[in-house]
């Protein structure tokens, strides 16, 4: 295993940070309606308190920038961070590079929760926040169910957890197909949850997700050291003083919370949780204390870029974000796997 030094870590962080800032600016500046970059910068500068109120920028442009594009990009950042960190937690926990939030059924549980509310006709209540809440509840209930199945006495078998997650997710998929066949006209709102997307979301969704992402990332920071030890093997970690059972519980809780927050506002977006941590591990090494900050920049970078592509490639038509992340992510990931195989042998 390569152990890149502190310099390489710092360099990666700087590159990711600059790339994220630039991407965010482009994502705010570009959209279905053309707004001159100068006007965009002046409005942003004004909002950041750097300059006075921009004269000559029409109100529609201001609304588009501040009420449509900014919250959308902010949400992309949060969803990317949440999915990335969640993926990192599950990969560390399962010591399996193929793990991601979907394996414990979080994503499908969230989608089922949302779909049931939509079919029962609650989609327009409380500005759609009922659906968000239901998605969240669905995600947590599924996680608890999978966890309950896999738990034997005080310990959980990681393999059983993985298998239980897959089986529960398959059951939920079947339930969703069933619900959808009775859904009639609501099929479109339902597809949103299955394909994922950040359209039609405003600041209210951002404020719903922020606390969960902050709490989840904070909890992960506290788990990072133990996660390094657990990657040596559970017995070894226990010998080194890690309370493995409690570590597993806390990791699952944090991972599920993060994934639930992301899915409840953006639907099921695949590949971010799988790819981001994996990719960054190749760059900064397997130390979770370094991987976490890298994922907090890399996850958002990936989702903001994917969303930018989703809404500009065929503009004004928008592509489903979940399809874009998989379509862009998967081939790149495969290329990288081959390219880095020699150097990365032994990682995870």
């Amino acid at each position: 295993m390569t152990r890149p030094g502190a310099r390489r870590f710092r360099r990666t962080m700087v590159v990711l940070g600059v790339a994220l800032v630039v991407t965010v600016l482009i994502a705010v500046a570009v959209g279905a309606v053309w707004i001159p970059p100068g006007a965009t910068l002046r409005v942003l500068g004004w909002k950041l308190g750097l300059t006075g109120h921009p004269d000559g920028v029409d109100r529609a442009a201001e609304v588009i920038l501040l009420q449509l594009r900014l919250p959308r990009v902010a949400l992309a950042v949060l969803v990317g961070a949440a999915l990335g960190v969640s993926g990192m937690l599950f990969q560390g926990l399962f010591r399996n590079p193929l793990a991601d939030p979907a394996v414990i059924g979080v994503s499908s549980g969230a989608a089922l929760g949302a779909i049931v509310v939509i079919v029962l006709g609650g989609a327009s209540l409380a500005g759609g926040l009922i659906v968000t809440g239901a998605a969240f509840a669905g995600a947590l209930v599924t996680t608890l169910l999978v966890y309950g199945i896999a738990r034997v006495g005080p310990t959980i078998q990681v393999t059983t957890l993985l298998l239980a997650g897959i089986a529960v997710a398959a059951t939920i998929s079947a339930l969703m197909s069933l619900v959808m066949s009775f859904s009639g006209e609501q099929i479109r709102s339902i597809y949103f949850w299955l394909l994922g997307g950040l359209g039609a979301r405003g600041w209210s969704s951002v404020s719903v997700v922020v606390p969960f992402v902050v709490a989840g990332a904070g909890a992960t920071l506290l788990l990072a050291r133990d996660m390094n030890l657990v990657s040596l093997g559970e017995e070894r970690a226990a010998q080194l003083g890690v309370e493995v059972a409690s570590f597993k519980r806390r990791s699952i809780a944090a991972g599920a919370l993060l994934a639930a927050a992301a899915v409840s506002v953006a639907g099921v977006i695949g590949f971010v949780g799988l790819m981001t941590p994996h990719l960054l591990r190749l760059l900064v090494g397997a130390d979770h204390r370094r991987l976490l900050p890298a994922v907090l920049l890399g996850g958002p970078l990936f989702v903001v870029l994917a969303d930018l592509a989703a809404r500009t490639v065929l503009a004004p038509e928008e592509l489903p974000l979940g399809a874009v992340t998989a379509l862009v992510g998967a081939p790149f990931f495969l290329w990288l796997l081959r390219h880095e195989r020699g150097r990365a042998a032994g990682v995870a």
Binding site: G31, V63, Q67, S124, R188, S189, G202, P316, E317, P320
Partner: protein
């Protein structure tokens, strides 16, 4: 199907009609409306059950449905139209020159919110569906009005509602009255011939038709047809070919969007035994005239009556 509330009369009307439910609200009396100049601000409850207030007479209208576009043009408000949904807004020809706002969402059938905002509309007219983006538009202070017509009578009410919303009250009344008279004339001559059993194909495959609570069904009945799909439970049910053969419709109606030609229909497996096929009474009808709840449905009615032999 809209409860109207204009000034002081409104509260009383609302109290009276509130208990009637959405299915059968009595029509508001046109004579009780104040003159167009004093009609604003105007508050209505639309067919999504949402209360909308229009502050001043709209100068920048976006229509998000071809039927709405046709109504707005027919009322002489084409100059105020700043946005339409997309390429399907093709009538009248001027509609094709108006900016398109559609194409977003997972199915490409939602409006691009940015585009709508950039047009700064003071009225956004649409049909049911898309609760999420509608809420988003409302949050951005764009007045969204949803109107839905299940029947021709509903449509005439909707046209008058659009008239009140846009300050074109008199034009809307004239249009509604004219359409009503023409539809009655068609129905009267159809009654003389007596009902003909028919089947209306929306889509194939799978064979999909219209249920009794749809706009097309209402038109079919008015044109003198007795649709064999009377007992259908949903609005656009799938219909098995077996059942169709057992129903034995005398006339088979289909749009060019669903079948390329009359002979293509006859060649479909199992269709040979249907009376309409045997008697060569399969007729292609212009879908736009019967599916778009707009001013041209009268032409649609005439076309249906001609196809049914009742006109």
């Amino acid at each position: 199907m809209v409860h109207r509330r204009i000034g002081g009369i409104a509260a009383v009307l609302l109290l009276l009609f509130a208990s009637c439910g959405e299915t059968a609200p009595p029509r508001a009396e046109p004579t009780e409306q104040p003159s167009p100049a004093s009609a604003f601000p105007l508050t209505i409850t639309d067919d999504d059950g949402v209360e909308v207030t229009i502050d001043t007479e709209p100068q920048r209208i976006v229509t998000f449905a071809p039927s709405m576009t046709e109504i707005v043009f027919e009322l002489g408000l084409g100059d105020h139209l700043v946005g339409v949904s997309g390429p399907f807004d093709d009538y009248p020809a001027e509609a094709k020159d108006v900016e398109e706002v559609g194409g977003a969402g997972d199915f490409g059938v939602d409006p691009t919110i940015e585009k709508v905002v950039s047009l700064e509309p003071d009225l956004f007219l649409t049909i049911p569906g898309g609760d999420q983006w509608k809420q988003r538009l409302r949050d951005l202070d764009i007045p969204v009005v949803t109107l839905h017509a299940d029947t021709l009578d509903d449509l005439l009410e909707d046209i008058e509602t659009i008239g009140s919303l846009t300050g074109a009250v008199e034009d809307a009344e004239l249009l509604a009255t004219r359409m009503d008279t023409e539809a009655d004339a068609i129905a009267e001559s159809a009654e003389v011939v007596g009902p003909v059993s028919c089947f209306f194909e929306v889509y194939y495959p799978p064979l999909t038709t219209v249920g009794p609570n749809t706009f097309i069904f209402d038109l079919l009945e008015r044109a003198g047809c007795d649709p064999v799909t009377e007992q259908a439970k949903s609005d656009y049910p799938e219909w098995s070919v077996d059942e169709l053969v057992a129903d034995g419709p005398e006339v088979y109606l289909v749009t060019p969007e669903s079948a390329r030609s009359v002979t293509a229909v006859a060649k479909r497996p199992g269709f040979a035994g249907i009376p309409a096929i045997e008697d060569e009474r399969v007729v292609l009808v212009d879908g736009d005239l019967v599916t778009r709840a707009g001013p041209r449905v009268i032409d649609g009615l005439r076309q249906l009556a001609a196809a049914l032999g009742t006109g």
